[in-house]
Symmetry: C2
Subunit: 296 residues, 2 copies
């Protein structure tokens, strides 16, 4: 399956990377880019991410597939209006990191069936068209949410697109998605932001951080470079789950701290041994990634 | 400068990686390995990390340079006895992640001048001889501590070794080293251990973690795979600095949590923008690594 006219709204890391692979892998014959940032539009054209830039309304006229790759508050805001305007056979999906609020925004829309709620679990800490990468999604998982609310044609088209990107497909409810995303993705970003803030507050001399960052700091703090414009709306939309995740993290952190204060070395070792179990999970991931198993 | 007989005590990730590069880069003519783990000895020979395996006392007889790459409590325990036994012209260094306790263990030894306290700021989350890598140290920083306590010949020999490994040299007091290491290295490991524990406690199904780990989790949790046997002694020896670092982290974390609870979105954004300043520090690092500037 391929699509003649794909419209990508939002030409940053995610939208730009989708464009690169959909074109190269022959899924999209023509890609129209839409972005409220004129500099990003010019850069996306220059980098060859899209074939042309159009204003949103004109772009929608001939669209067969619309992809929203903008911050989650913007997705929730714009989705009903886009559903109003798209042609009857056009599919629309979004790539936001929260799903409940966005699904709610479209829930009562008469054209809800044309919308497929999704979240490709891939990214980097960089943003903007210049951050777009080939193969960003390859071997990773795309979550499709609340699939019963989407019409089969549209579900099939969006799933085809993700398969072309090399992704494994996973289906779950939007509430379940948001809960898991809070722990496995959103919390990681907050621990990194806080690590950066702690170290920057202590180390007045940037050279010291730079010199010593080889000792594990760099990878752990990588996500602290992430865009506040993208992440603040995610934290707002998934606020309750994230607050629970943060509170659970604080409890585990204080437990670790207590073993050091009490010089309970066996307990410190026990907590580290518990944490080591993550190796099995991540090794499993390496296995599956390299095997590139069939989509589920 | 090169050395005919190098003795490496501890044939894990660090000792094994040092061996690989010292041999390949022509610094060491003959490398003797010492390890209390017989399986590691056999594996180190099989992988060609060392030329021969000897018991510690025999290995020391002809040593010109002894490198201790074992957990920091073992270094502090063994260092005075090794100083007793090594030949007069032999240099000894250690690669432990704490420096004050180790320097204290050797402080009053009549042969203290033969010891150079050092810490190469490089590693991975893996351990054992099979984890050894070429170029692990290349472009990273080696910290030399309390250099006034080391005799010039020995200081020069150890610094030459680190230059051969491709490292930039940095000198600082052992107390200063331990303070910075608590924030820039040891804290990162604890935030990763705690992240793993939080997510493993919540997600009973390992598949869910595996499926969603593309969303930033994997890099942030990487250090949670680190060895408790190596890290528990580091936490003990640098306990006070680490407790301060943990308490500062908890404060920053609670501040972030509070902005979400209070829906103070501007403040959340402000904390993320503060954290983004780490990008400049890490970019600077990329620049310097790629330039491979002269050692300081």
């Amino acid at each position: 399956m391929s699509v003649t006219n794909v419209v990508i709204v939002g030409l940053g890391l995610i939208g730009g990377s989708v464009a690169l692979d959909l074109k190269r892998r022959g899924f999209a014959a023509h890609i129209v880019g839409v972005d409220s940032n004129e500099g990003h539009c010019a850069q996306a054209l220059e980098l060859g991410l899209v074939d042309e830039i159009l204003p949103l309304e004109r772009a929608l006229n001939n669209a067969e597939l619309v992809i929203l790759a903008i911050p989650v508050n913007a997705i929730a805001g714009i989705l009903p209006g886009i559903l109003d305007k798209i042609p009857e056979k056009c599919s629309i999906t979004d790539m936001g990191s929260t799903k409940q609020s966005i699904c709610l925004a479209a829930a009562s829309h008469p054209k809800r069936g044309q919308y497929v709620a999704s979240h490709p679990m891939a990214g980097t800490e960089n943003s903007g068209p210049g951050a777009a990468l080939y193969d960003l999604f390859n071997g990773k998982v795309a979550v499709i949410c609340d699939e019963a609310a989407s019409a089969p044609l549209h579900l099939q088209r969006v799933e085809s697109m993700y398969k072309v990107l090399g992704m494994r497909l996973l289906r779950m409810g939007s509430a379940e998605h948001d809960l898991h995303a809070a722990y496995v993705s959103h919390l990681s970003h907050i621990t990194s932001f806080v690590l950066a803030n702690t170290v920057l507050a202590k180390e007045q001399n940037a050279n010291t951080i730079f010199d010593l960052a080889g000792g594990g700091f760099e990878s752990t703090v990588r996500l602290a470079k992430s865009s506040p414009e993208m992440w603040a709306p995610i934290f707002e939309q998934n606020r309750e789950n994230i607050i629970h995740a943060l509170e659970s993290y604080i409890e585990h952190f204080q437990k670790f701290h207590r073993t050091l204060v009490q010089q309970a070395s066996d307990e410190t070792r026990g907590l580290m041994a518990d944490a080591n179990r993550i190796r099995r999970v991540l090794t499993k991931m390496d296995d599956k990634t390299s095997k590139k198993g069939p989509a589920r």
